[in-house]
Symmetry: C2
Subunit: 617 residues, 2 copies
Amino acid sequence: MAENTSFEVQFQPIGKRVAARADESLFEAARESGIDLSSACGGEGSCGQCRIVVLSGETTPPNLDEEFILTELELQQRERLACCTYARSALTVQIPRDSLLTGQRLQVAADLHEIDPDPLVRAFTVEMAPPTLEDVRPDLTRLADALQERYGLRDLFAGPPVMRVLSPLLRESNWHVTVFVRDREIVAARGAGGSAGEQRPLGFAVDLGTTKLAAYLVDLESGADLASAGAPNPQIGYGEDVISRLNHAVRHPDGGKTLAGRVRESLNELLHELAGQADVDTAQVVEACIVGNTAMTHLLLELPVQQLTRSPYVAAVGTALTVPAVDLGLDMAPGAYVYVPPCIGGFVGADHVAMILASDLDHRDKVVLGVDIGTNTEIALHKPGVAFLTAASCASGPAFEGAHISDGMRAAAGAIEKVRITVDSIALTTVGDMPAVGLCGSGIVDVAAQLFEAGLINERGRFDKDNPRVGSGRFGPEFCLVPARSSGSGRDVVITQKDVNEIQLAKGAINAGLQILLEATNTDPEEVEEVIIAGAFGSFLDVKNAIAMGLFPDLPRAQYRQVGNAAVIGAKWMLISRAARERAEAIARSTSYNELTTYPKFGRKFALGMLFPHRRR
Amino acid sequence: MAENTSFEVQFQPIGKRVAARADESLFEAARESGIDLSSACGGEGSCGQCRIVVLSGETTPPNLDEEFILTELELQQRERLACCTYARSALTVQIPRDSLLTGQRLQVAADLHEIDPDPLVRAFTVEMAPPTLEDVRPDLTRLADALQERYGLRDLFAGPPVMRVLSPLLRESNWHVTVFVRDREIVAARGAGGSAGEQRPLGFAVDLGTTKLAAYLVDLESGADLASAGAPNPQIGYGEDVISRLNHAVRHPDGGKTLAGRVRESLNELLHELAGQADVDTAQVVEACIVGNTAMTHLLLELPVQQLTRSPYVAAVGTALTVPAVDLGLDMAPGAYVYVPPCIGGFVGADHVAMILASDLDHRDKVVLGVDIGTNTEIALHKPGVAFLTAASCASGPAFEGAHISDGMRAAAGAIEKVRITVDSIALTTVGDMPAVGLCGSGIVDVAAQLFEAGLINERGRFDKDNPRVGSGRFGPEFCLVPARSSGSGRDVVITQKDVNEIQLAKGAINAGLQILLEATNTDPEEVEEVIIAGAFGSFLDVKNAIAMGLFPDLPRAQYRQVGNAAVIGAKWMLISRAARERAEAIARSTSYNELTTYPKFGRKFALGMLFPHRRR
């Protein structure tokens, strides 16, 4: 078949029609059209998340990957993996709810205090006399002279993007304008005729997570939140974990450009959504602060990433960057800048700096642990008078985000978020009170803890096959949470032996990181007084269950505090306050990065961390 | 006929085949394909310069403009104006020599002294240890640390375009590189393995003239010229004079973008030509200095120009600009900058600043005039202890560049460059000793002077119709320099009454400017000790004839010095020397701009300046 033959594929229930070439999988065709199918493997046929049902039309037959992952019944019902399926005629295809990355619950709020604004960009309104034959000063000189006379601002300048709008604006607005000044640079100007709200400088704070984007629109002068919104990271279609995405950037021609382009598009969509919510113009947005782990900020800025794909993992740049928004294609004010705070080391990036900042970890007078659980888990330990120490638990992986778990999913409708297993019953809560279709992060933690507490798995995570409540599936012993007849997917919702092992790997990595940090700083577990749990997953978590299943250590004196997405709040602080930006740069300088894998006892600590703790009876 | 129908048009003698749409003129079709036909009006059917001969095929019939401009014989011979002619079948078209803007003599050399280099960008070679598990400093930090240790350079940084190349380069070059540093910014890096020549920072100096581009490639550290080249300004196809081009930018959608794009393309072609001559890599070119009048620099930088199209003529920006080369699409080092020096006022731009600098006008201890004759003529008067004063003679127009003159042309092969009219003969010299096809600037000055000296025109520029040597043409009396039988074009080469009037308008404007400058500074003509004539046209000029025809005043004490293209030399100085750049900024600050048209006696001075001076007998 000619490579350039293509067929129309209609995706249900969203009703989108897409042209799929004969040589591209339905997964690729969907992605190119902006339909983000769930995937942990990036379309490699191994994760089984991009399930679709072919309702009509001809496709290539199921391949070996599909025969391994899908049941015979599923295959009979024309269930397929989109990444293994190629169109051979026009098709109609159904996307099951949990294959589609939309309508997720995205958490942006955080329980943190506010700070006083002291922004880099300020607004000044000025009027000037128009040019005459006797006074032909250039437009920018005329404006700068007027601002100096009225406000004492000296040596102002502007870059070409601002110059391009200034001359027509001065004339349209009858030489009466509000300009936005950043240090000595004019970054935007608007006619002074509009409402007071149209004259205010706004900022865009973003946490660019591996899985999710969370953003605020703020008034730079008052510090007030005008709007908030979230969106999935569109790079997920290119691999759920950081390394898959970096590999995509390295191995595909223009891979880096594609990944940067996708996330920049999403940032623009978020920006317009926020501006719509607040009923303001995106041209008023004069500064952005974007935080993310090292891989995310490198991909955003299209920096080289090959050296981040293998050990020793080295960033191209670790210092703070200030980049013109126009270079990232963001629809902000013409002279707006994007500030990307400094990194700490390895994959521990600006998001972690922002989290330390917003949770005031650097200002405490007691020993505090900060844990930010995501696709990568970062841990900071603050010990007054000693140092910060930060460790990256790269190996935690996306299990707590629902990936690599048979019935794992994100916190979308129908996701089991709370589980209580008693001697004779199972009590569940799902997102949106919908029939259960899978387990999201907090549900996974609950299940693991409750299975262990109920004696259904032992300390090494092995199912008790003799227990009548433990069933048997394709991958060995498993526990059925919801039978097919009452689930939302028509299939049993189960947790398998393999799932428990995945959970153990994740908690092993986090535990090893914690132990090493404590040892490296000579900190006795008794000394830790507070544990700050940051990140969207962390804020929905049942801490008791997290301790019970050994995800967090049972520190004797420690208070656990769940602060939600502290990274985006830190980004907001750096947007509205020069002092916060300086504090962030000081945090990055004073925090030493610990590469866990170089510790000789890392393997042993990892293995110990995988064990379930002694049962509390 | 459908708008999207198109026909193949073959242009002879260059043999280029072009697709011409039915709704675009052959002038537009040629221009889009990079064939620059001569035009003063920008394709408006009024200047008659874009003549072609249709050798075969069908076209639209001649329009009224063509019937007015072309003779019946010319029309019979299928001579046409490209801007009035539309293809109606495949065509073969001949471009006469003087309609094509190639093969011109472009003057770049100048008779000026050299200065000591003190460049902004310097090269440093450094070696560093590669990352290990124990040392995962980001690449940029590792490099900056090594440069600080070896050379004491502190707080170095780099922008994303440099970061994008740095990480792969460090690894390919085994952590041994030469970096180019501008203040604290790393603007380029190269592997240190190559030859010494490959490690040297280079600069690109350009005079962006309305008609011509002149450029040098220089070694920033030694100040040595590595190559020089010239090219026509490709914007000529959009109007020969500044105002036509500005109008094109204002009136056409994307007009500004098109004009900027064309000149940036030519700059890149020049850059590659220079690099080829010098056998170096354009990635070594770490800084450019581009000078031009206000309109040219505005069009280059795509700044707003509407306010420059009508009085009072106001620049959008007059201060010096430093713009990333990548923003102008120039193929230089990834972090290279383009420096555009400050303007003086109105259309008097960075080129005039460069000319004042290179001719040391600001360092003289006597009264000196500087005159830069081009499509616009700029005049500077330096009076020690008083001030600079600069006037723009906007009205001089392109007559001395051959436009608006019936048989005017640029200094291409066959252009008459020297004329001597005696009582009974005419002696001519042509460029390239080719049969005469028209008159270039120096020839035009010679003819005007010699006609006046021979008594063929009177002081008011009127031909003596009673003199048998004065003939009669379509536009009244005319003088034949070369009859059709011995010309290169097959037509008489003549100078008409209208041509003499055009020359008078040009010299009237220049004279008025000079007179006003002298009066405004209370300078007696006796005080002027030196007149510096800059510009390519000025360097081929016969000064005696220029005085005889009243283009330059016959100043009693003054020495005339022809320095050629001083603007490009000034650009070179600003490229290789920080001190020269500071001097240029001081020149711009200390030079006051005189808008001639605001002087009450301007009209009278203009009219007087149009007269031919009393005959020296």
